[in-house]
């Protein structure tokens, strides 16, 4: 395994130290394990806290800042954060108006946030949880862990972040987050497996002409293995999966997201195919974002996310945001 690290056991903390040095507008508590806006808490503002395993950067730490998250708590690589650090981040962010936990639907994330939420409640902080489960590759069923949270996390964080910034109340911000999630669907393909620093070897072997369809963002194999196909066909299949699982009629926000090692030249090519296919199907695109945002270390792969957007969502999408990973209007 070759990576730019010193010690596999200390990657997250050392990376956080670099993040702290690079972004003085953030307060990074390396020992306690959270990142919060330098001026937090903001009295009277509903605070947004997210988190999850590390290795998905810029998600979540790179989305802390005006117009998006108030705090983020990164766990070890691909490992949900522990309740203590979620609690610490929640307390650091809480400005008295309550805290929204934005949680990707993974058993570990759900349980750790739940435990932290209970602890926060005991300390008198009102916590609402928004669960993100947009990955249509996984069947939605109450008998299983349900769908994973992937690309839509960015949309939920951006849109609720804007609403919280302009004074949205706790219940309203959380409801909006759930609405964005419900309106979103994602599908991903991987071309390569990923090597976590701790494991030191790829999670699976993938022959030179095969790809994984329906992968998540933790280096796990996908729902099925397929032969490589041209981008046009992969995009068509991904959009089929999304449009079958969720019905879209109005304008959509599109995220073409790289899983880490897919270059922009390919991501833009993919976006071109997405735009062409959606036009064919009569789905109009209101807004779009192309880049590496919700990643899986250095996995070569991509996900497409569609969110059927209301006018309000689009207005909030356009609102200023100033974070290391996403920035406009400010």
């Amino acid at each position: 395994m070759k990576k730019f690290i010193n010690d596999p056991a200390d990657v997250v903390a050392q990376s956080l130290r670099g993040l702290a040095a690079a972004h003085p507008e953030l307060r990074v508590e390396v020992e306690e394990g959270y990142i919060v806006r330098a001026g937090a808490p903001q009295p009277g503002k509903v605070a947004l806290v997210s988190g999850g395993g590390s290795g998905h950067e810029p998600l979540h730490g790179g989305f802390v800042g005006p117009g998006m998250l108030d705090a983020a708590c990164p766990g070890e690589v691909f490992t949900s954060p522990v309740p203590d650090q979620i609690l610490a981040a929640t307390k650091a962010a809480d400005g008295g108006a309550g805290v929204v936990h934005i949680v990707k639907n993974y058993t570990g994330d759900v349980m750790n946030f739940q435990l932290a939420g209970e602890l926060a409640g005991e300390e008198g902080i009102s916590v609402e949880t928004v669960l993100v489960d947009d990955d249509v590759a996984v069947e939605d069923s109450t008998w299983t862990a349900g769908r994973r949270g992937t690309g839509a996390t960015l949309l939920v964080e951006k849109i609720t972040g804007a609403r919280a910034e302009e004074g949205g109340k706790l219940g309203e911000v959380a409801a909006l987050g759930r609405e964005v999630n419900a309106a979103s669907g994602s599908f991903a393909y991987a071309l390569t497996a990923v090597t976590t620093p701790a494991a030191g070897r790829p999670g699976f072997d993938l022959p030179a002409d095969e790809i994984e369809a329906g992968v998540g963002i933790h280096g796990e194999p996908g729902r099925r293995r397929e032969k490589w196909r041209p981008a046009k066909e992969l995009v068509r299949s991904a959009l089929d999966a999304i449009l079958t699982a969720k019905s879209f009629s109005g304008p959509v926000i599109v995220l073409v997201n790289g899983l880490g090692a897919t270059p922009l030249i390919e991501l833009y090519l993919i976006y071109g195919e997405v735009a062409a296919h959606l036009e064919e199907r009569g789905v109009t695109i209101a807004r779009q974002l192309v880049g590496n945002y919700v990643t899986s270390l250095d996995m070569a792969g991509m996900s497409v996310t569609l969110c059927q957007a209301t006018d309000e969502m689009i207005r909030l999408w356009d609102a200023p945001v100033r974070t290391p990973g996403l920035r406009w209007g400010a």
């Binding site: 070890e76 058993t107 750790n112 996984v138 299983t144 998540g216 796990e220």
Partner: protein, 206 residues
Amino acid sequence: MDAALARDWMRAAAEAIAAGADGLTRLDSAIGDGDHGVNLHRGFTAVVAALEKSPPETVSEVLVKSGATLMSRVGGASGPLYGSALRAAGKALPATPEVQPADLVTALRAGLAAVRKLGGAAAGDKTLIDAYGPAVDAFEEAVAGGADLAGAAGAAARAAQAGAEATVPLQARKGRASYLGERSIGHQDPGAASTSLIFGALAEVA
């Protein structure tokens, strides 16, 4: 079982996890995200350190402290699950220096209930419950049959291992492996494997 033996159990579990970490990670790479060995290794190393720093005087406290430490240091799915299992088990024990095998039956059941409640999984979902459940049954049966701690622990360890191996043909319905659907079939569940190691550690020291 006294507090010293309980601490020995946790130390032996830590050693078994350390020795088996690579194997657990390999199992988790196949159907999960490849961190289970590292997660538990980090957690049990912290447990041993915490127990050494200020050794609790009762079995109950040993288990509660171990559970709380796992909860605060592991993360992922296994941290809260093992953390609340040990915490619930410890809380179900009397605050006496020594506890009897029958007390441990109650404690282990309380731990299992906590895992079920937090994780929502049932037997056959291909999770650590598939090793934990049979282990508790075997422990209880042995105690009912008059076995001492060593005998009951041995029976539990064998049942846990058999339960872990029996997860191979199952399709996962909970946890990360469930995302693989049918592709989860044919692999042992990493959490069931680590549960087997922890019961094995108990049999070793009992």
